[in-house]
Symmetry: C2
Amino acid sequence: MKKLYLGIDLGGTEIKLAIVDDAGRIIEEMGIPHNGASIPHIVTAEIIGRARNMRNFDHVVGTGIGVAGDIDQEAGIVRFSPNLGNWKKVPLRTMLKGRLPGKILIDNDANVAAVGAYWLDAKGKARNLICVTLGTGVGGGIICQGKLYRGSTGTAGELGHMSFDHDGPKCNCGSFGCIERYIGAPHLSRFAQGLVEAEGSPVISRLVKNDLSAITPHILARAATLGDPLAKRIWKDAGEKLGVVLASIINFYNPEMIVLAGGVSKAGRLLVAPAARIVHERAFATSAHACKIVVSRFTQKLGVVGAALLAK
Amino acid sequence: MKKLYLGIDLGGTEIKLAIVDDAGRIIEEMGIPHNGASIPHIVTAEIIGRARNMRNFDHVVGTGIGVAGDIDQEAGIVRFSPNLGNWKKVPLRTMLKGRLPGKILIDNDANVAAVGAYWLDAKGKARNLICVTLGTGVGGGIICQGKLYRGSTGTAGELGHMSFDHDGPKCNCGSFGCIERYIGAPHLSRFAQGLVEAEGSPVISRLVKNDLSAITPHILARAATLGDPLAKRIWKDAGEKLGVVLASIINFYNPEMIVLAGGVSKAGRLLVAPAARIVHERAFATSAHACKIVVSRFTQKLGVVGAALLAK
């Protein structure tokens, strides 16, 4: 019998559970609706109950959990999660130990996504890989020689806070001109809103029924696909900015693969094509050619599969 | 008897040889003057002869060589070295094999310096370490979990070509606004020359006997030490620019230690103090606090010791 792993993606609106084999294939999965204001011990009791009822539960040899936020991986504690208001200093590993199978590993969503991208998008083959999570925030995870690299204090991979423009606008993190400040979903949306106000875009205006505050990256991708020149320009600009930072990462880290994941990555080629062009213009040729830049084909699964394979 | 390693630092003006123990202590060392226009097989014959005459040669179990330039580490070939005009596609490992002891490893100067910094400055303890070599070029080497990390094509660590200003002046590498373009020795010198021409500096003018084209980072460090306000300002500016890139590296890689080496690093606190201030202003607090930024106390030895310990 194959060894199986239980993955749990603890999100603010849904908890995903999956039992996964050692190549990252999902054998069995389920979702539980989740209210972000939940109480930790009630949620863990529900997770345990649901997991134990999964058909393949008896073959599970290890459990991994991904949670957005500040996680103490070594102690297995959720220090703080932006999506889960009541989850402060929650000793999640202790609460689950002995009640879910095997070793229990806990990590943040970006690290878990990187493990997922390594197994799903790279099929375990790109030994040095960067996963860039593009959503409200911009984050990342680093695979080094086939293993998750967490850095010295578990805070590696914060590539959303690499500098795009040292003299740029203030970022939430306290620094200035971080790439997240330009291409994080709310910033990208606000930037687009300003441009539409200034220049007009019938397509975007129609898609948001003239409520420009309703512009999202999803709307911008639809507008670009419909041929809207302003939306196309916004994606080109976002891709080029991302490309500058990816070129720095490629010169520094020389990965075999960069996987873009998260909501904003759904723009696909609209974002990747200009980013890749800038990378080839700016990064060392050897390193640029060696690095495939792709959009994850498994964005929705990276968290739960990566969590499961943390335990591998 | 302890295991010993032979290190060779193949520079354009001197070849250093050292026999080193497994903690990086130099047991025996020597230098051979070297003309950069040398013929490879003549130089290798001299190296072999000199090495074999070293007193501890019989205890050497491995040999490492550092060469500036483009090195094929796997094949042991010097593809190209900017300091050694005739060294093109030189199969250095094959030429030395069986004539120098043990496994023979070859790598570029920045990677070798990182290994040296890991053993000498960090005493083998900072498991994730970045060495930044500040000279004519700006380069770097990455230690990951106690081992040299070369990336997917051996080109990792090119941190001199991380972006400082995406819209900045063209760099030799073809990109724009790379940090090397500001703080590489010739750029720093030219920048200083322009400022001295525009604003005047009696101290710097005296040190270069009014030949402003003779300004070097070394002169600028002396002028600053003598209290020259313009020189101090130039170092503050260089340190702050370096700090922006180090903050990006720290957010991405979360190292325990960054070691600055090379000629420009001799400015010491003049450079490190503003860089560290910017890092603490810009990088994530946890990562910034976890990372010591130091000037190597062993700049002249990093190459030869790091080369020796490649073979460890």
